[in-house]
């Protein structure tokens, strides 16, 4: 083999790293039973100041406050501060009505000049709460989420350990009635939260306090300056990193559930996730001195860096795998076939392990979103997995059918098909982008079935790529609010 061929092989193998990383994370998640931090057996009820940033949340804010008052938490140890970011709808009136209904427990904090984004709104509330000095911990949530009654008291159990600086909950997709996109997100959250954050518990390093449920100990908040970061689009991740760099642990409690309403269409998801991916780029560079530095604690560990960067670089690695396979195709087809088989065999193994383990980690969501779990990589990717796992199905059976139908499958046809298959790790992102275009066109009803064909995973990669490109060209940082309708429920609903 030539040096060029070896380089191509290396590109393909490096392209398989996200699969290895996914497999590794789910292995760790299974190990959570042995390595999780044990919460206190006795309930702990520190005084909690709950901050709810709200901008034009009239549809949901009253319900949110009622739910907070329904928490299984002593009333005299809980205060709710709704920070109204100069809302122009009925949010102020709704909150003030609730302040009257729950005197001494619900407070309306009004910003007359708003529009600076969520982080600034939260900081406005933090300044007031800190000046009062009443609180022992602060809980930051979104205005549209529903905290299940036991969630807060479950999170506070970890404060029994003085090394714990912050706790986050399991955010579950709760749109009711849900559509295909909600179910894809629901399954994604099983993998990205219920499983991945269990894995991070095992590593002792959390990547991010979920924006919808961040419980921070007073000392940790003061240690990071008493405010949250306003210079990035990932303020929750920056907070998480800073608390851990201060020597405190951040813990994920998988048994504290918070329901959130997520985007219902491709466009909404795209807008939300571009913001997230840009935030991740900013965090990666902002904390460039911690990667692979053991003296920085668990955040500087090899495992954490491996997981972070394989996800961060996934679009690049996928393009690299395509280049490698195509290069080998023209250099040495036999080697190309072996490399292809290795790449997709790993994909098959990871797919089976991740999908089945996700069903195991959250059976409730599995019952709701099992179809989306199975179709997560997309129909085309599943066919390629089948081809890699059992080629005769296509080379004999399908080719036989096509031959019977008079289609010539040898020669140019098979070459073009093979090139398509080798290119799919990159083409899938282009296809996902086309799904977004379809979603915004008169052909919008086709977007859902197309997404099942192309895959939700590729869609996330395409969005990430777009976010990186926007960040690369220095696009303006705008906090675009995700539209919420207030249709959110709990329990085993469809």
């Amino acid at each position: 083999m030539t040096a060029l061929a070896w380089i191509c092989v290396a590109l393909v193998l490096i392209g398989a790293l996200p699969q290895v990383s996914g497999f590794y994370q789910f292995l760790l998640a299974g190990w959570h039973r042995f390595r999780r931090l044990q919460p206190s057996e006795q309930p702990l009820y520190p005084r909690i100041a709950l901050i709810v940033p709200a901008w034009n949340e009239a549809m949901v804010v009253s319900r949110t406050i009622d739910q907070l008052m329904a928490l299984e938490y002593p009333r005299d140890a809980l205060r709710v501060y709704v920070v109204d970011d100069a809302s122009t709808d009925e949010t102020p009136e709704r909150v003030q009505a609730k302040a009257v209904e729950y005197p001494g427990q619900v407070f309306h904090l009004r910003r007359e000049k708003g529009g600076e984004g969520k982080a600034h709104t939260i900081n406005h509330g933090l300044r007031i709460i800190r000046s009062e000095g009443w609180y022992e911990a602060v809980m930051i949530i979104d205005a549209d989420v529903i905290l299940t009654p036991p969630s807060l008291r479950r999170m506070t159990r970890y404060f029994g350990d003085p090394d714990v600086g912050a706790i986050t909950a399991y955010i579950k997709e709760g749109s009711r009635p849900g559509n295909f996109m909600n179910r894809f997100v629901a399954f994604e959250y099983v993998t990205a939260q219920a499983a991945a954050r269990r894995a991070q518990n095992v590593l002792g390093a959390q990547a991010c306090l979920a924006g919808g449920a961040q419980l921070i100990r007073r000392e940790s908040l003061e240690a990071i300056g008493g405010e949250i970061d306003t210079s990035t689009l990932a303020e929750d991740t920056v907070t998480t990193f800073n608390i851990q760099l201060d020597g405190k642990r951040v813990v994920f409690d998988p048994h504290a559930t918070v329901w959130a309403e997520e985007p219902r269409d491709v466009g909404g998801l795209w807008k939300q996730r571009v913001r997230w991916s840009r935030g991740n780029v900013q965090v990666t560079f902002r904390f460039k001195d911690i990667w692979l530095r053991r003296d920085k604690g668990p955040l500087g560990g090899v495992s954490f860096a491996f997981i972070w960067f394989t996800i961060f670089l996934m679009p690049v690695l996928m393009v690299g795998a395509t280049i490698g396979l195509l290069g080998l195709f023209f250099l040495d087809r036999d080697v190309a076939a072996v490399a292809f088989r290795v790449l997709w065999y790993l994909t098959l193994t990871t797919y089976l392990f991740v999908t089945l383990s996700s069903f195991s980690v959250d059976p409730d969501t599995a019952r709701r979103a099992w179809r989306e779990g199975i179709m997560f990589p997309g129909g085309i990717s599943l066919l390629i997995i089948l081809y890699a796992a059992y080629p005769p199905l296509f080379t004999d059976v399908v080719a036989g059918w096509l031959g019977d139908a008079g289609v010539q499958t040898a020669g140019t046809f098979s070459t073009v098909l093979l090139l398509f298959v080798y290119s799919w790790p990159s083409l899938c992102m282009v296809a996902a982008w086309l799904v977004k275009r379809v979603d915004a066109s008169p052909l919008q009803p086709l977007a859902a079935p197309l997404l099942y064909v192309v895959g939700y995973g590729p869609l996330l990669c395409a969005i990430t790529t777009h976010g990186y490109l926007k960040e690369l060209r220095g696009a303006e940082m705008v906090w675009e609010k995700t539209e919420k309708t207030g249709h959110i429920g709990t329990g085993e609903l469809r």
Partner: protein
């Protein structure tokens, strides 16, 4: 008999081995799952729950067909907007050991909150959580074993 037929005939023993391995895996997983379920049920039965008026334990990952009425919209278990037809194989997922659920808390009167829970209840919940984490570990191992056997069977079969 053509050459292709001969190849197919030669593959049958491999197919039998592969199918056998898959069947054995299935039976092993099924037996293990049943065992875990029985153990969980026995353990639950052995634990005496706190009597009323303590609120029900609150592991919300339940099968409770409840919801929160919002904006005048009460959505329920039967409501599906764009659900696909039910798939019988999903029964396999439903057969997974259930989270040891007692009762979902979400349908309670929202004016009933603001109270701490009894310490005994919190301790029971913690035990439920530990059981669930144990189940996650056991299932994880079973899934890995199943995948390994499946891939082995495939390798034996296809070569």
């Amino acid at each position: 008999m053509s050459a292709a037929d001969e190849v197919r005939v030669r593959r049958w023993p491999r197919f039998a081995v592969g199918a056998g391995a898959v069947a054995v895996t299935g039976v092993a997983i099924g037996a293990a799952v049943a065992r875990v379920r029985r153990a969980a049920a026995a353990e639950r039965a052995a634990v005496e729950r706190p009597a009323a008026p303590a609120p029900p334990t609150a592991l919300e990952l339940s099968s409770s067909p409840t919801s929160v009425p919002l904006s005048g919209t009460q959505v329920g278990l039967d409501e599906r907007v764009d659900a696909f037809p039910a798939f019988p194989a999903f029964a396999a997922f439903a057969a997974l050991p259930d989270w040891p659920v007692v009762q979902a808390p979400d349908d309670r009167d929202t004016r009933g909150g603001g109270l701490p829970v009894p310490a005994e209840q919190a301790a029971l919940e913690l035990r439920d959580e530990e059981r669930f984490e144990n189940a996650v570990f056991v299932r994880s191992v079973l899934i890995l074993v199943g995948i390994a056997l499946l891939l082995t069977a495939r390798t034996i079969w296809v070569g």
